[in-house]
Assembly symmetry: C2
Homo-oligomer: 455 residues x 2
């Protein structure tokens, strides 16, 4: 392990015993060696990949533990260097928590965030003010299981008009992660114990499925999206991102859509459609949902996390009628937030925001593609990220480190795969400042060039 | 069964098989007989107590199912009559969901709600506006696990100053139910499988513990609060409401507090303190938390549900350091809501609101006590409810029905006990309109008198 040679023997140092999932045990173990002074202030931790290899864990486990300890103030992610201890056993009591990631200076191309600079602050404040001025007193009571009827109605209308969905019963959750967790628990209670998921894909949702007691089976993705023919027999549930696959950026082809629905009918299965950034298509109109093609076979999940902000904690799900009774309708998000979003939708503010955001992302994507040309980029003109394929002999993790040394955060494609494959980077431009596109491209070119000259 | 004689044989009619907890199976079974037309529109359902006896379930199970189906629009709670079917199989598609309970006209003395008429709408809107105007862009990203550092700091300060707590690490949850669920799962992961709870008590929290895999052991309450000496040996965790026991309204006496802490040290146990309406004491200053007396032995839970509104979905927990690592810090409530509450606290708006609310509740309680005198009321001058003891030969459920027939909703004390005991009513005045106090007292007297003349 090139990077951990100078570090302690982590597998010996860390006590990973005790209850809980791996990332929690690792968090505890790291916190313990910081608290007892084994790792003093300013000590450098190994890169997440190196530590993952040392411990035999997935890298996701390590990054979760690091981010947790950053949030708690024990660690800090330093621009241009690795993760370091920022807590001193000599200090008075536990450190104050700090912002994870966002506190980091420099340019962040980690995927998963929309443009936080353009959150529609004034229009959202207007919606909240209207709710607070006009809502009947009863609205300040306990939230209604399944979500507020007004938001459910307005949102169903939006999904029918804008996403081609066939829904008359949409329910409100805290986000896609929460909604998917509820669906997974429903699958489990119905005796379905395996779920297929795209490989590569969003590993956090896999973790959610695992926590619900399901086994997750990776199914490869090619240029037409999920390889439906590769879903193992016996599997009766599959999680897909048809509109814009994460992270490869492909769109599920019409033939594959038909094949997927045929599969679901053949096995009496459930397709779980994560419609996660479908609103952002730049070259043509967004592709409608698979759910609209056969609502009896598809559970549709969505949220405002990629369209407005993850800070709102609002998502939704619409499941086929035969699943309705199995999916927990509680807890419901705060009623005032639900009513604010309903008002925002009713006033057309959501549609206006999406139109403006689409223009902005399209321009930014074009600028980034131009600035990075002729590097090999993939993914259709959609969403909030691109994939950059590296030369076969390049080591993506090394490029990530070299970029970090320049103050640029990018993600290793392997972070979204259960098993490593051809080297690549995921570049999220959703929250990239327009003025930083050129700098980001230059720093990334340097990091790639330096890596290429090394190999 | 007096009340179900005219109804079908429910235990035969309802198919309670299938997965899930009892209240979910009952919900499904009732929905099925409504959907297939077995129960037509306007059909009357038996009172929850009668159906519970018929099915051998607790009444909580039945009320949960009824409320769920009311929320879904299949049932309606009619003022002055029982629960009725409001869905017709001939209607187009599933019924639109409706408000549960709150939709009911008349006077509602069910406990659990603060005064929704006096939610500080303008000051809350001001706090939201300030957050939206001034928060750095990064605040619109994903919520930080464990809660926003700013709210955590302000809230810890509030709990130290106003609740005598010794906390430097308070974490944010969606409410007390959510926080208690996290603590229960932590207990379970630490190998603790039983938790003691006050009898009578808030049955919803018992359900939460059960769902987390714990066995709940009821421990009686007398005029000094929890009978610490009755905690069975082998039990190492206990849920208590020391400041104002729900529903009896007693305060845990100083001797019992000492005894409880002694118990916790002896068995190396955890006291879980639900500080649920501690801010509202009318005859003296609120009693400080037990947590403040030995923070190494007590987990403190609280929320704004009884002080501001359950619609905000904000609660918190502070656990002893040895438990910190075991309690899940995610998911976190929406960041904007957390920041709005932090702002509300920082500006002193929370303290002002509590002062005004205390005056209002005190006056209302005095008015209700006067209007009901000389009926035997119990509970110290605190909180948002009273207990009315009925004559030993009275049937509380019958009084509840007779009151309902007059448009007055009150609760049977048995609703909060696992095993029925001396007849009593719980009267919640938190959300009672001041102008309705006299009417409520008159209707209740009539209902009690009618029941007394019958027996």
């Amino acid at each position: 392990m090139r990077d951990s040679q100078t570090n302690p023997a982590w597998d010996v140092l860390l006590d990973l015993s005790g209850p809980g999932p791996r990332h929690e045990r690792l968090t505890r173990a790291l916190r313990a060696v910081i608290r007892d002074g084994t790792l003093g202030e300013s000590a450098t931790l190994p890169p997440s990949r190196a530590l993952a290899v040392d411990l035999g864990f997935s890298r996701w486990v390590v990054t979760q533990a690091y981010e947790q300890l950053i949030a708690e103030g024990y660690l800090a992610a330093r621009t241009g260097s690795s993760t370091v201890v920022r807590w001193s056993a000599a200090g008075a009591g536990p450190a104050k928590p700090d912002r994870p990631m966002n506190a980091q200076a420099g340019i962040d191309l980690a995927p998963g965030l929309p443009d936080l600079r353009h959150f529609p602050r004034e229009r959202w404040a207007d919606a909240v003010r209207e709710v607070l001025a006009n809502a009947p007193h009863g609205e300040f009571g306990y939230p209604i299981p399944g979500g507020h009827p007004r938001l459910r109605a307005v949102l169903a209308d939006y999904l029918r008009r804008c996403r081609g969905a066939v829904v008359d019963d949409v329910r409100i959750a805290f986000g896609v992660t929460d909604a998917f967790g509820r669906v997974c628990r429903a699958l489990h209670s119905a005796g379905i114990t395996r779920v297929a998921a795209e490989e590569p894909g969003w590993l956090k949702l896999r973790e959610v499925a695992t926590r619900a007691g399901l086994d997750v089976v990776g199914v490869p993705v090619d240029q037409d999206g999920l390889r439906v023919d590769e879903i193992p027999s016996g599997v009766r549930a599959v999680l897909v991102t048809p509109a814009h696959q994460f992270p490869t950026g492909t769109v599920l082809s019409p033939a594959r859509r038909a094949g997927l629905l045929g599969w679901a009918r053949d096995v009496d299965g459930l397709i779980i459609e994560d419609d996660y950034d479908a609103e952002f298509r730049y070259d043509r109109r967004p592709v409608g949902t698979v759910q609209g093609m056969d609502p009896a076979r598809v559970a549709l999940l969505g949220s405002v996390s990629k369209t407005l902000s993850p800070a709102l904690g609002l998502g939704w799900y619409a499941v086929p009628p035969q699943w309705t009774d199995l999916v927990e309708p509680t807890p419901s998000p705060p009623a005032l937030d639900q009513l604010a979003f309903a008002t925002f939708l009713e006033r057309g503010a959501y549609a206006r925001h999406l139109r403006a955001a689409r223009r902005r992302y399209r321009a930014r994507r074009d600028a980034l593609v131009t600035a990075l040309g002729p590097l090999p980029l993939s993914g259709v003109a959609a969403g909030l990220h691109l994939v950059l394929d590296l030369r076969e002999d390049a080591e993506a993790a090394a490029v990530v480190r070299r970029a970090a040394a320049r103050g640029l955060r990018v993600s290793d494609l392997d972070d979204y795969r259960a098993t490593p494959s051809g080297p690549g980077l995921v570049l999220g431009y959703g929250n990239l400042a327009d003025g930083s596109v050129g700098t980001a491209a230059r720093l990334l070119r340097e990091a790639i060039g330096e890596e290429a000259s090394r190999t």
